[in-house]
């Protein structure tokens, strides 16, 4: 349970999986992003893109002093300017998350796990 909000009508809890799937969907629409990768892909040597059910392995959400932070692990296409792709990703993910959940996200940390050339 990551987001806890209380309203006059009761409490709202949003799960980590929900945030991961929203952030994951948003990240995939960013130009230059080929897919999400598992956080442990380097250690486990699993070299594959995550499927929809597994987005949770590539997106982590945590709460730091009343503000939320998201870590996103991605694979980027070969031959694009990675800095720009990432800054667009951060903008887009923040925008979509804030629009969807109505709470401010302070940071979107992006980890480029791999670069792929797709023929």
């Amino acid at each position: 349970m990551v987001i806890d909000k209380s309203t006059p009508y009761g409490a709202i809890n949003v799960s980590m999986e929900a945030i991961a799937s929203v952030a994951g969907e948003a990240a995939l629409e960013v130009y230059g992003v080929v897919g999400l990768a598992s956080k442990n892909s380097l250690a486990e040597n699993i070299n594959e893109l995550l499927k929809k059910d597994d987005y949770i392995k590539g997106v982590y959400c945590k709460k730091v002093k009343n503000a939320y932070e998201v870590d996103v692990y991605v694979v980027v296409a070969y031959g694009v300017k990675i800095t720009e792709v990432i800054s667009e990703l951060q903008k887009k993910v923040t925008y979509v998350l804030e629009k969807t959940f109505q709470i401010p996200f302070k940071k979107v940390n992006v980890f480029v796990q791999d670069i792929k050339e797709i023929a």
Partner: protein, 568 residues
């Protein structure tokens, strides 16, 4: 032309980049997707300019090397989403022209198709209704229509025509575009580039029009609200030096001070106007208009070393004659400042308010405001304007009424700057004119600064306010359909109440929505477009409808808003 060589191709690319430069502010206006930050045109322009630089001095005769260099320049200079996509399109085009010294129309078409393929490869889930759609539809239409004897000009003309058709359809594919009533900004940028290329092929090379975008530059920076500090506005005092520099921050070992962004920003904001400060790790890029570039550079050098510096004299550019006047003005200002300082001891309290329109100015003055700053929704005063006004108050405690949520920030910044000086300035965060007026009424110079502040701030909560203004385009917001030139009734905190053709009807809708059980006094401030005798009619109508309310209808003379409504 049946075919083109490298040099001709270079002309096409340069002309495309120039055409984009000449039109990028218009493209910024369209920007709503994926994040409405109004910088698509700017980003694409910077990307293309970087590509153009790469080939500017290249004299190769082969298309392959020109296209390759252009694509490399685009890749390196890519900015923003559409910039990255553009760089991929041209990377594909360069691949398509590989090993070719000259290309004919068929080969050009194949290159564009290749551009589309490469552009689509780099994204897992392409969003349709964007620049991607435009390049896909136009390149495949060109491939279908091309014949053996098609010339380069004809090919580009087909491409542009199809791209424009595709662009027109982007709102059908992407709902957000339709909602706001625009076409895709990235796609529009691509069309502008293609148009520039076509013109060059027809022998009408597009030159870079240095003056055109400069005028609209304010709108670009104005939209990106995240730059705190002074925003570029219709700057009356457009003199001084346009100073831009890139600073690489140093380490303490090199004898440099640690960089504190806020402090740095405050210093620059107080010494200049139109401040834009962007920081990326250890690089800081600054753009500022100042009368004294030297002191600014000295200050900045305390924190690191410069990578580039550009200083331009804007007085020379703008107005050769006023040069002398500037100097005398400044001297006059300084002298005036000194005189005021010497004249009398500091008052206990001073009030500064932001307003627009003669009638409103008058009302604030009646309520005891010392200094008025002209500003509002469309023209936000800068931090410096506030500093000047606070000084002019000549008081120990100054309260600022920004009367607009966009201005609160600049006002707070002025207060931060004044910390530790003789004057204690505080912002009463009034977000609307009616709030400001009510807050002023609570002002009484007896008691401690804290008491006065609490009283004035407390008054803000007792008012609900709204306004009536006209719509500038057709759109849908929060389920209300907006029609251009109709009048919208807006609640200041909760969005749009209604949108109707008649401004008086809009006013009545608004009042209807605002009035609650505990309401007692209704204040209506009429804008410059409302005649005095309409006021009498409004009073009569509303009095009949709400007999228990006290009515106060006045002429405020403000622009943009036909009515400002406050209810206590």
């Amino acid at each position: 032309m049946k075919s083109i060589n490298g040099q001709q191709l270079k002309q096409l690319f340069l002309s495309g980049a120039n055409n984009l430069y000449n039109h990028y502010p218009e493209i910024d206006q369209l920007n709503v997707f994926p994040v409405p930050d109004g910088d698509t045109g700017m980003n694409m322009n910077l990307t293309l300019t970087s590509g153009a630089k790469e080939i500017q001095n290249k004299n190769d005769e082969s298309c392959s090397s020109i296209a390759g260099a252009f694509s490399k320049g685009l890749l390196m200079g890519a900015r923003g989403n559409s910039g990255v996509i553009t760089s991929q399109i041209f990377r594909g085009i360069a691949e398509g022209m590989k090993d070719k010294d000259s290309v004919n129309a068929r080969e050009l078409s194949d290159a564009f198709v290749r551009g589309k393929e490469v552009a689509y490869k780099a994204v897992m889930r392409p969003v349709e209704g964007t620049i991607l759609t435009v390049i896909r539809e136009s390149s495949s239409a060109l491939a279908d229509q091309i014949k053996r004897d098609t010339s380069i000009e004809e090919a580009l003309a087909i491409l542009l025509k199809e791209a424009k058709i595709s662009l027109e359809h982007t709102p059908d594919l992407l709902p957000i575009l339709k909602q706001v009533g625009v076409v895709d900004s990235g796609g529009a940028g691509l069309c502008v580039v293609l148009e520039g290329m076509l013109k060059a092929a027809q022998g009408k090379f597009v030159e870079r029009n240095e003056n055109a975008p400069e005028e609209s530059v304010s709108s670009i920076f104005g939209n990106t609200g995240s730059y705190a500090g002074a925003k570029l506005s219709e700057d009356e005092e457009g003199y001084g030096y346009c100073t831009q520099f890139i600073l690489r921050l140093g380490k303490p070992e090199d004898g440099k001070k640690p960089f504190i962004e806020k402090k740095f920003q405050n210093f620059l904001a107080t010494h200049g106007k139109s401040l834009v400060l962007v920081r990326d790790e250890d690089i800081v890029k600054v753009h500022v208009h100042t009368l004294n570039p030297g002191s600014m550079l000295n200050y900045a050098q305390n924190y690191g070393e410069f990578l580039t510096i550009t200083i331009e004299n804007m007085s020379e550019e703008h107005n050769n004659i006023s040069h002398g006047d500037v100097a005398t003005d400044m001297v006059a200002n300084i002298n005036r400042g000194k005189e005021e300082e010497n004249q009398e001891p500091l008052k206990d309290f001073g009030l500064v308010a932001v307003s627009s329109g003669a009638g409103l100015d008058e009302m604030f003055k009646e309520l005891g405001v010392d200094v008025l700053i002209s500003g509002g929704q469309t023209m936000n005063p800068s931090t410096e304007d506030f500093l000047k006004a606070i000084k002019k108050c000549h008081a120990k405690n100054v309260f600022i009424l920004p009367n607009n949520s966009n201005i609160v920030m600049a006002a707070s910044q002025a207060c931060d700057v004044l910390e530790n000086s003789d004057t204690a300035a505080r912002v009463i965060p009034s977000k609307t004119i009616p709030q400001g007026l009510v807050s002023c009424m609570q002002f009484s110079p007896d008691g401690s600064s804290q008491d006065v502040y609490e009283a004035m701030k407390g008054a803000l909560k007792s008012v609900v306010s709204g306004s009536v203004t006209y719509a500038i385009k057709d759109t849908d917001i929060e389920g209300v359909h907006i029609t251009k030139d109709y009048y919208m009734a807006m609640k200041d905190d909760k969005g749009i109440v209604s949108c109707v053709k008649d401004k008086f009807q809009a006013l009545y809708d608004l009042v209807d929505d605002l009035v609650g059980d505990s309401s007692s006094l209704l204040t209506i401030i009429m804008g410059q477009d409302i005649a005095e005798k309409d006021g009498e009619k409004i009073t009569a109508d509303l009095q009949k409808k709400y007999p228990s309310l006290d009515l106060d209808v006045r002429s405020g003379g403000q622009p943009v808003y036909s009515f400002l409504v406050g209810l206590e």
